[in-house]
Structure formats: C-alpha cells, structure tokens
C-alpha cells in the first residue's frame, strides 16, 4: 500500500495517490545463496526468480545469485539473515528447526507421498502457523516449494521391507530427523558427509545410503551399490528463506512480488526435478543397480514411530486430521 512508502515532506499532501513504482527510488539488493552448483535444477528456479523479480520491480530489487556455498554454509547464511543482511538461502526443514523446533516435522518420513502431497502440506494451517513464527527470529520464508526429489534406499543387499533393513548400516546426514527415521524403519545409522559416502560404501563402512535419484547418479552411487528400493520415505522439500529485517524494509508491493516469484521459481525448479527423476533412476539402473520391489506400506507403518521418538506425535496427528487421513 502506498501509505507505508510515501515519505511525508513539507508541502506535500500525504494522501496524494501516485503509482507505487515511481515512488520507490530506493534500490534493494537481495543475495540468494545455495550450496548446489549452477547446473542443479534449483539454480534454474533461482534464475527464473531473479529475472521475474527484477522485471516486475523495474530494477527496484536486484537479485544476485551465489552457487556453491559462496556466501557460506546454510547455517551461516541463516545467521547473516538474522542479523539483518539482505541475504537468503535455499534450505531444508531440519536446519530451520533450530529456530522453530516443530518446523522440522516437514522433513518427517512419509509426511507426504510425493511432490503433490508435499504441496498440500503447505496449505495446512499447521504449516502456515509454523512458517509465521520465523519472523520473530528474524527470518522470512518466501516459499517452501523447491522440491529436490524423493529419497530412496541404495543398498548392497536387496531391501523390500523393514525386516531386510535390520542390522544394515545406512549413511545419515546427521540430522536428527534422518537418523531417527532410518532407525524407525529398521536400519543402523552412520553419520558421514555426503562427499565421503562413495568411499564409505566402497570400504563397506556403510552398506547403503538414503538419497534422491539425481544425487545418487551424480555421485555414481550405482558403482558401489547393487540395489535400489524406491521407498520414497522423504520428500525433500526446501524453501527460500531470507532476512525478515530486510524484507520488512521493502514496500508492500515488492514484498508481494518476492513472495509470488519465489513460488514461481520453486515450481519451475521442481518441474525440472520431476521431469529428470526417472531419467536419473534409469541411468543408475543402466549402471548396474537392480530395482527391488518395495512394500511401501510396511515402511510407512514402521516409520510412524519416528514421530514419537522426535516428539512430534501431537503435531503429526494434527496434520493427519487436517488432511483427513
């Protein structure tokens, strides 16, 4: 609304109605980082975001993109945003849960069955309330629809139900949600950096990894595993999170544009991911891994106890109720 942005000076009537764009002579710069490379579909989404924001704000907001963690790790950029720098990052619910603990549930196992299901989550009042809480921590979620893929199991022995997973050492990122979920599904976990996963599989330090198809193919996991089980236990949903202090300085019109275009950018990136997912899976299969028939319902049932272990029981029930399941 123009009311918020008009600077009142002597001799000027505050009620004067002029188009917003011409009033906003102040320029804003938003630096958005991601830890992925520029070839990642995520980056394509960011490019759309940048182009659309700059066009619709007439250059009032410039978006600079930084790939490969140039601004720092996710946690670092979140910290920069909290102290008020004009920065943002594409990050996951696990890291966000440092600030609003319950938000971590969005990374929970089988909370959604696929991308469409994940989008439904964004419509629930549970999500909307949680997302709003970040503002008091200095963070603003522009959109949370950057889908990076469904997570599956790539293993050395065939896994079709939780029984098969018993005693297998599966690599975890170290996030509580991942570790507890894998344990609930029956696995033992070993925490490793993703960059070390390949060698760890080679030496049998771990006997499997849980990963999405594009990353699995990108790291040539098919060379060191023999089976893939399409468990789809996580829907890897990430979002664009920026500084709330910076966001609140923007004119309302710009704020709306940023929110809308983050949504568009996320959708664009997600579509590319969905389009390429089958392709990556096929390439891994061509590379020598065997597709295993999976009893998804059994895994779903087993994974449910992770919500108790993580202290998310009530919240999980509330989400189930709202989605009518």
């Amino acid at each position: 609304s123009p009311k918020e942005t008009t600077t009142v000076t002597e001799g000027e009537t505050p009620t004067q109605e002029t188009p917003v764009a011409s009033e906003n002579t102040e320029k804003f710069v938003l630096k958005v980082g991601t830890v992925t490379s520029e070839t990642d579909p995520l980056f394509e989404g960011l490019k759309v975001f940048k182009a659309n924001v700059e066009e619709r704000t007439n250059g009032g907001v410039t978006v600079e993109l930084y790939s490969g963690a140039q601004l720092g790790a996710d946690e670092d950029v979140l910290e920069q945003a909290i102290v008020g720098a004009g920065v943002g990052i594409i990050t996951d619910p696990g890291r966000m849960s440092n600030y609003v603990k319950d938000f971590g549930i969005l990374g929970g196992p089988y909370l959604a069955d696929d991308y469409e299901g994940a989008l439904e989550l964004m419509g629930t009042s549970v999500y909307k309330d949680l997302a709003g809480e970040f503002e008091s921590h200095g963070l603003k979620i522009l959109s949370f629809n950057f889908f990076q893929g469904s997570r599956h199991l790539y293993t050395k022995s065939p896994v079709s139900n939780p029984e098969d997973l018993k005693g297998l050492r599966i690599r975890s990122s170290g996030s509580d949600i991942v570790t507890k979920s894998l344990e609930a599904m029956g696995a033992n976990t070993t925490v490793l950096a993703w960059s070390e996963a390949y060698q760890a599989l080679q030496q049998r330090v771990v006997e499997g990894v849980e990963v999405h198809n594009s990353a699995a193919y990108g790291s040539s996991i098919f060379e060191v595993t023999d089976y893939v089980s399409l468990t789809s236990h996580f829907q890897l949903l990430t979002g664009m999170v920026i500084s709330n202090g910076w966001f609140e300085k923007l004119p309302a019109e710009y704020q709306a544009i940023l929110m809308e275009e983050a949504q568009t950018g996320g959708q664009h990136a997600s579509e590319i991911v969905l389009e390429k997912d089958a392709e990556f899976l096929q390439q891994s299969i061509d590379g020598g891994v065997e597709l295993v028939e999976v009893d998804t319902e059994a895994f779903k049932l087993a994974a449910e106890s992770a919500y108790d272990a993580l202290g998310y029981r009530e919240l999980k029930d509330a989400i189930d109720k709202e989605l009518g399941r």
């Binding site: 946690e75 440092n98 170290g174 070993t190 925490v191």
Partner: protein, 168 residues
Amino acid sequence: MTLRRFEGIFTGTGLAALIVLVFSAATLRWFGIDMSWSTDLAQLVFAWVCFIGADLAMKQKRHMGVEILTERLPERIRNGIYLFNSILVLMFLVFVVYYGINLCIVNVQRSFNTLPISYSFVTASAPVGATLMIFTTVRRIIEYIGNFRSGDYSNIAVTHGEEGGEVI
C-alpha cells in the same frame, strides 16, 4: 601462572587433543564404529586453538608484515607508524569483541553439528581471542608511547631472524 604460559599449555594441549580425536575417529570407523561427534568436537577445539594461539603469536611478534618501506625510515617515524598500526589493530579487535559477543547472544539457538550444544560455543572463540589480543596490543601501544618519551627506539627493531612465521 602467567597468561602466556596458560596460552601455551592451552594451545599445545588442544593440538594434541585434535590428533587424538581425528585419529581415533578414523580408526574406529574402519571397525564400523560411528564417532562423528569426535570430528565435530575437533572443529570446536580447532577454533579455540586458532584464536588463543593468535594472541600467543602476537606476544612473540610473529605476525608478519611487509617492512621494505618502513625499515628505511628513521626510527622516530617508524615508531609513530607502529603506534598508528597498533591503534588501528586495537579498533579492529574491539569490533570483533563487540560484534562477536552480540552474535553469540543473537543466534544462540544455532546448534553445533551433531553435538548437543549451541554454536555460540564456537563463535565465542573469536571475542575471547580478540580480548586477549587487546591486552597485548594495549601493552604495545604503551610501549610505543613510552619510546617517544625516552627517545630510545631499540625495542622496535624488526627481526627477520625469528625463524618461520609461515608454514607453506
């Protein structure tokens, strides 16, 4: 125990701890035992070794600069330049202490990898190390001012003789 001695023991012990932590984690991993917390702990220790060690190095005048211009100047002027440098360094360190403490407080919720502690325990190494360096810098500033009074500049001599100072 003097501060210098404490810093020496702290950094030496920290360094030894780093080896134990990283070596044992790597060895145990071969047996399938997960000790990822130990590499995280190593990173916490490393931050502290670096920032406390920085003051130790400063006390020994081991931080190097380019002296080709200054060493040609008369001692009195050089003393003045060093005084100016030290005051700038002091201001920089004060910034680090102030904003470092602020950062520790503002983002105390940030967790530290797999350890159940706040990342502020890592961040705090910077303001603590900078505080120690402030003591050292202030002492040096007093020395430089004293030199102007006494007219004796013998203690500002640049010694390239100190071995090392760079490990590449």
